[in-house]
């Protein structure tokens, strides 16, 4: 665990854990009406003792909104990335491990999907399915899948050519066991690292969709939705964007650092 104890590891891990705790615990301890409670007399008011992060255009407390919005943002991003991993993992592994015709067909398809900008894909899927939480997750998930499949394939291809895979094959290991015992553990770090980076992107993608009205639905709070709602008030009340913006930035920052450090931590070679 030593490699976690670096400044970067502590900071990244700390941010990610804090965000997770906030996402999980906030809805338990803070009634969700706190995020939607309005005060028409205190609209767009700056940070103060009453509202430490200020209020939005409907006089809602930004602290509660950003804290309670963590759950939505983190959940959408997490579920979307999970979904893309669940679909992309078998695709990528089969492609990379078996190669040949399957690989050609799958990768041509993946290449094609990659030609559609992810946001455009998500936008179209959202438009097809309609805007709600589940569909937002599906849209982002599908949009991210080809990307992950591609990376997993590359990793699987690399691992499939490693001497230890050949050694295991010589030792009579079947394909299924090979994938479970050798391929998966060896590509897992890459997936996890890519996953954390994708999480960051998913948070931004949710923000982009919300900006276009297709992500989270009001009055629920999500960071993306908060930034989008703030756009008309930025010049008079910049904090309405800066507060959720900072939440996104810090989380993405933490995820990126966390991903970097995870890479080391997951590798038994760097543990001592």
């Amino acid at each position: 665990m030593r490699s976690f104890m670096t400044g970067k590891g502590l900071l990244g891990g700390g941010i990610v854990i804090t965000m997770l705790l906030v996402a999980i615990l906030a809805p338990i301890f803070i009634p969700d009406t706190f995020a939607t409670r309005m005060d028409m007399r205190a609209r767009l008011s700056g940070p103060s003792l009453d509202h430490i992060f200020g209020t939005d255009q409907l006089g809602r407390d930004l602290f509660y909104r950003v804290v309670l919005g963590a759950q939505t943002s983190v959940m959408i991003a997490g579920a979307a990335v999970l979904m893309s991993v669940v679909i992309g993992l078998p695709l990528g592994i089969i492609s990379g491990y078996y190669g040949g015709v399957i690989d050609n067909v799958l990768m041509r398809l993946v290449d094609t999907l990659l030609s559609f900008p992810a946001l455009l894909l998500a936008l179209t899927i959202s438009a097809v399915l309609g805007p709600n939480l589940t569909n937002t997750i599906i849209a982002i998930g599908i949009a991210f899948t080809p990307f992950l499949a591609r990376i997993i394939r590359g990793e699987a291809l690399r691992v499939a050519q490693m001497p230890y895979v050949e050694a295991a094959r010589a030792a009579g290991t079947s394909d299924l066991k090979m994938i479970i015992r050798h391929v998966l553990p060896n590509i897992m770090p890459a997936i996890i690292v890519q996953g954390t980076i994708s999480l960051a992107f998913a948070i931004l993608a949710e923000a982009g969709l919300s900006f276009l009205g297709l992500g989270t639905q009001p009055p629920d709070a999500s960071w993306g939705l908060m930034i989008q709602a703030s756009r008309d008030y930025l010049d008079v009340a910049p904090w309405t964007a800066l507060v959720p913006g900072a939440a996104v930035a810090i989380t993405v920052l933490g995820l990126n650092m966390f991903g970097d450090v995870l890479r080391d931590v997951l590798d038994p070679r760097t543990q001592s």
Partner: protein, 313 residues
């Protein structure tokens, strides 16, 4: 040569797949364009008539055939909402988006490469942390956030650049650049952050290579070792990633163009989607995907020029 032919053939296949996917997806979109044309004046009978006359009642395969046939013969049909022929409409918007995509890419590369190299050669020191952290902040905020900030700073407070609109470069080149600057910068900031990280990690890998030591052992100045021996090798991978980011850019322009009221492909596609203008959605999505793919093809071919190793295989 075989490599190039190979790439081109696979591009053609991918284009075909793109057209099928585009067509399939647009056909499961709910709502339809007849409704949009009639707006609040819609009634079932009028809608049915309009649908019939727009050919929306034909079997899908017929519609696909008609569309793809039209694409190939240059007859891209009419936008149902905009009531204009699609081909010239898209041609114009592609130019508009092309300007900001190229400009944002240029801005991004212009800053990202030196910054990334600088971070790499000062690896794990304050220079690196500074560059890496600011790069992270860059990627951590959505483009529209930057967009709004830039409008407030450059258009509102300083008044240096117009806050919105599009000018065709053929009409007024300087005006075109001025109008495209802020959207390009908004896009470029995130991209720059990304490319900086990429340049940094590539450069770190390359600076550990043996040939770098050999270059130093020759007595070359560090400047030359880094900027010539090192960077020449990093440029290929960085350009490849930059090429892949064109896809990301064409996604982001949807948001940024609507924000800046910059009427390019992103704006057009978004309008088409909002209005269920199926022919326009199909053609513009297809064009975006094709442009993204062709850019990558271009980068691949450029790579052949940059890296002699690819030439033989």
């Amino acid at each position: 040569m075989a490599y190039i032919i190979n790439r081109v053939l696979s591009v053609l296949l991918t284009l075909f797949l793109i057209s099928v996917i585009t067509f399939a997806v647009t056909n499961i979109l709910p709502g339809d364009v007849a409704m949009m044309i009639m707006g609040t004046q819609s009634n079932p009978e009028a809608l049915a008539g309009l649908r019939e006359s727009l050919g929306l009642n034909d079997p899908l395969i017929v519609q696909y055939g008609r569309w793809i046939g039209g694409l190939l013969t240059g007859d891209w049909g009419h936008s149902l909402v905009f009531r204009e022929p699609i081909a010239p409409l898209i041609a114009q918007k592609v130019v508009a988006s092309g300007v900001i995509v190229v400009m944002s890419m240029t801005i991004a590369l212009l800053f990202a490469i030196p910054l990334g190299v600088w971070a790499a050669i000062h690896r794990d020191r304050w220079q690196d942390s500074t560059a890496s952290t600011s790069a992270l902040v860059g990627v951590s905020l959505p483009d529209f956030f930057w967009g709004i900030m830039l409008i407030l700073l450059f258009a509102r407070a300083l008044g240096w650049f117009p806050s919105s609109g599009f000018v065709h470069p053929a009409d007024d080149l300087l005006g075109a650049i001025r109008h495209a600057f802020l959207p390009s910068l908004a896009l470029g900031l995130g991209l720059m952050a990304h490319l900086t990280r990429m340049t940094r990690s590539t450069m770190i890998g390359i600076m550990q290579q043996e040939f770098i030591r050999v270059a130093r052992a020759k007595g070359l100045a560090e400047r030359e070792v880094v900027w010539s021996y090192g960077l020449r090798n990093a440029i290929g991978p960085v350009l490849t990633v930059a090429g892949l980011q064109v896809g990301y850019l064409f996604g982001s322009i949807i948001v940024v163009e609507s924000l800046f009221n910059y009427t390019g492909m992103g704006w057009l596609t978004y309008q088409a989607l909002l209005n269920r203008d199926i022919p326009l959605i199909q053609s513009s999505v297809f064009v975006i995907a094709a442009v993204v793919m062709l850019t990558n093809l271009l980068v691949d071919l450029l790579y052949v020029v940059i890296d002699p190793r690819i030439r033989l295989s």
